[in-house]
């Protein structure tokens, strides 16, 4: 089975055709199996992220034929093209720089705003969101995240090393919405979470066709819809992306 793997070393991009040899009769390998075999044979220096091999850790996401896929649990087909995520800057081969996302939330999830009585149950809507494995598949096609690269750079630009990306994304909104749903967070904490969402560019969501989660969480209803409703008329009236 021939698979095309896009590698990047020292800034040079190349497409390498790798011939996967099935390990068992009728094997239907995952993308990760191909990468592991390539590393074990002809591409020993191949760089890619993985951790659990079980769709739990969220680090193995790559683009396959232009769409984000969780490599350890996405079957590969003859002729597939495997590339690094297009939405983040490439470090080497299939490895992208991830830390600009988390850093934008530093100092925005204050623990002081969690109330002391821990014996409160969270609503189902809360648990629906803690299913997020931080795979970053949802950055694909997000106009808010795209604002970070608005200066015309083809490739994703590097985030500010200290503060992360200026503009948000579905994952960051999900983390903020979790605070708003947590029964142990104070009113102040909830307000601060909404403020942060607005500051990260929530206005981009007005009229956006909505985001897709790589593991199937209802981001449109459970996160974006809720935040938009709560923000109401606090959003700038003429959001540029609206209706786009």
């Amino acid at each position: 089975m021939k698979i095309n793997i896009v590698t990047t070393r020292n800034g040079v991009r190349e497409t390498v055709a790798y011939d996967y040899r099935p390990r068992q009769e009728g094997e239907r390998p995952m993308i990760l199996d191909v990468l592991l075999q390539a590393q074990a044979t002809t591409l020993p220096d191949l760089a890619f992220r993985y951790g659990c091999r079980a769709r739990n850790c969220g680090v193995c996401t790559v683009d396959v034929n232009g769409r984000p896929r969780i490599a350890c649990r996405a079957r590969v087909r003859e002729g597939d093209r495997v590339e690094p995520l297009a939405t983040l800057p490439v470090l080497a081969d299939l490895v992208v720089r991830r830390d600009g996302i988390a850093r934008q939330l530093q100092g925005r999830l204050s623990a002081d705003q969690r109330a002391p009585d821990l014996n409160e149950e969270a609503p189902e809507t809360y648990h629906a969101l803690t299913a997020c494995i931080e795979c970053y598949a949802c950055l694909d096609g997000c106009p808010m995240h795209a604002r970070n690269f608005a200066d015309g750079a083809d490739d994703a630009a590097a985030p500010d090393a200290a503060t992360g990306y200026r503009w948000g994304n579905p994952f960051s909104l999900l983390k903020l919405q979790l605070l708003r749903l947590d029964p142990c967070v104070t009113e102040d904490g909830r307000r601060a979470a909404l403020d942060a969402a607005v500051d990260l560019g929530l206005d981009a969501c007005v009229g956006c066709k909505g985001c897709k989660c790589g593991v199937g969480i209802d981001l449109k209803g459970g996160v974006v819809g809720e935040l938009l409703a709560a923000a109401g008329d606090r959003l700038p009236a003429s959001a540029e992306e609206s209706g786009a």
């Binding site: 070393r9 020292n10 390990r23 068992q24 094997e27 199996d33 590393q39 074990a40 020993p44 220096d45 951790g51 659990c52 091999r53 079980a54 769709r55 739990n56 850790c57 969220g58 680090v59 969780i70 649990r73 996405a74 079957r75 470090l91 080497a92 081969d93 490895v95 720089r97 991830r98 830390d99 988390a102 939330l105 530093q106 100092g107 925005r108 999830l109 204050s110 623990a111 969690r114 821990l118 014996n119 409160e120 149950e121 969270a122 189902e124 809360y126 648990h127 629906a128 803690t130 299913a131 997020c132 931080e134 983390k175 979790l178 947590d182 142990c184 790589g214 593991v215 199937g216 209802d218």
Partner: protein, 655 residues
Amino acid sequence: MAIEIEWRDYDVIVVGSGGAGSAAADAAAAEGARVLVVSKDPIACSDTKISEGNATVRASVSDADTEQELSDNLRVSGADLPLPALTEAYAKDSRAGYDWYRAHGLRPKINQERQGPYARPLAKGGHTVARSVGHKNAGVAFSHAGWDAVIESTAIDYLEDAWFLDLAVEPAADGAPGRVVGGLVYHAAAGVLVAVRAPAVVMASGGLNTLYFPKTDTMRGNTGDGYAAAARAGADLVDMEQVQFLPFCLTAPASYEGLLVGEPSTASFLGVLRDRDGKVILDGVYLRTRAECSAAIMRAVADGRGTANGGAYLDLTANARLPRSGKGFMRYLETSMPSAYRTARQALAKDAVRCETAWEVRPAAHYTMGGIRVDATGASVGGPDDGTTAAGLSGLFAAGQAMGGVFGANRLGSTALTENVVFGLRAGRGAAHLARTRNAPPADDAFRPLIAAATAPFGRAGDQAPAHLKLELQQAAWDCIGPARTAASLDRMDGVIDDLAQRAAAVSIPEYTLWNQAFIEWVELRSLLDVARAVTAAARERTASVGGHVRLDRPAVSILAQPYSTVVRGRPGPGGVLNFVAERARRPRTPTARLAAMRLKDAWRKAQAKALGLLPPRLLDPILDRRYQAILGPQDAAPPVTPGSPAAAVADAAE
């Protein structure tokens, strides 16, 4: 193009961002320390994240669950290898440790009557009392809490994609291990070496289970870097032969090899283990420890009665076959270990998923009970028996899987997530205190040899690929120091290590410094070689079978024997790989009366289980049905999407 060196100053370095690392960082920052978290995986990406999310919370079900009871459970199931000071600390802090996760957003179901987290009223194997609290979205929910703890604090700096390489140590005058003055880090995302000056380092870097890849269910990052760095710096390691092989992991299909599908408790009331020919090799499986089940499988394999892929059959069919309680069993199976069952559902044939046929299983490396030798504050210790900090490596702390001594020969299910935080908080506090009181001049000279060693491989033009040497080592480790060992296999392992160390001198590593995968593989290979040597040395010192250490050529340890832990200390050896000298540290036996009481309880439960199995189905079915109703408790909805579910795999779902 030489790699750049960036210097930084902190009070405390925390290596790792799983449960132990995030708790340690939080505690140290709360004490006013300037903290740097260094994590090779993205923040919170760890075994903690991929775990089943069952946590031990003492007294969550009954007041009879005293500190003594919990501490004794750990000691007895750990074959009296655990250090009592550590098991007592664990028992004392278990509730507070768990509540740390809650303070950062973990939300369990609440038992209104007891005003605390709800635990199912079923004791897991080796626990004499029910006390395991399950969580929606399993470990992922825990990792959200740990992530928040690191990200929400402005007093914590962090580097991800950053491999901690070595401890910088200023040697002591008297030949003792000396004191920590910082550490060297490869920050792959920036392509630089970061030399961090700091008087205290907390190792929370997880285990060494990747030594057995692909026969492991843990994260790829478990390459024993923390143990190796500690040993290279002169610190003692304890119980290194004690690797826990979880009995029920998959053998096939290849993409799923090594992944967890069940615990002893999964076998429920009627599950048994069978050999290739269908003969029962272990009954009462749900009341056994992980070590007992793994040993039974490996002994059958060694006798030539193993399955095609070198395992055994976990036969759950008797549970599922009963008309009424069978339904309860299936619901129990789906809900008690949701991600394990999901793995089974995706990997196994349909009839196996419905438990109409047995599952082929084989042990896989899951947890390293051994680790950095510490006291109850998480500080490195050395010297005879319990050890003292005076004889330890001053400034080194450890927590979570990186530390050794609390679980001894066997770790009970659901105990690790709590342990992470109990000792993470202790180590973080201890490190902050030490940093505050230490007023020593900088010792940059200690960094020079480390920098030289880390700079040299870039651009080396040899003919060996580090990634390939790693795979050779992993195969040999499974065969020689895996779940079944002999005197000859230990000798063979040393030979393999010598050979690989020699070939590792001729590796090929490109010159570029930004995320250089070959360099990363080399770093991890170096760690794995050192820890393979440590496991081998400890395994030789442990002359009988006990817990995770199964010697096919030796009998099980006598219950009358004086319990001891193995302690190994590294010395520079040929090819740059450490050699280890091994010693024994005496451990007290659980007082006979308490031991007898626990054994009696255990024997009674096993006898009951046996009697149950003899009942005709007509009588058995309603009894089990009632039991499942009690265990399962009130029904509640699963979240619409859960990590690892088939719906979550875009490509899979289409099929």
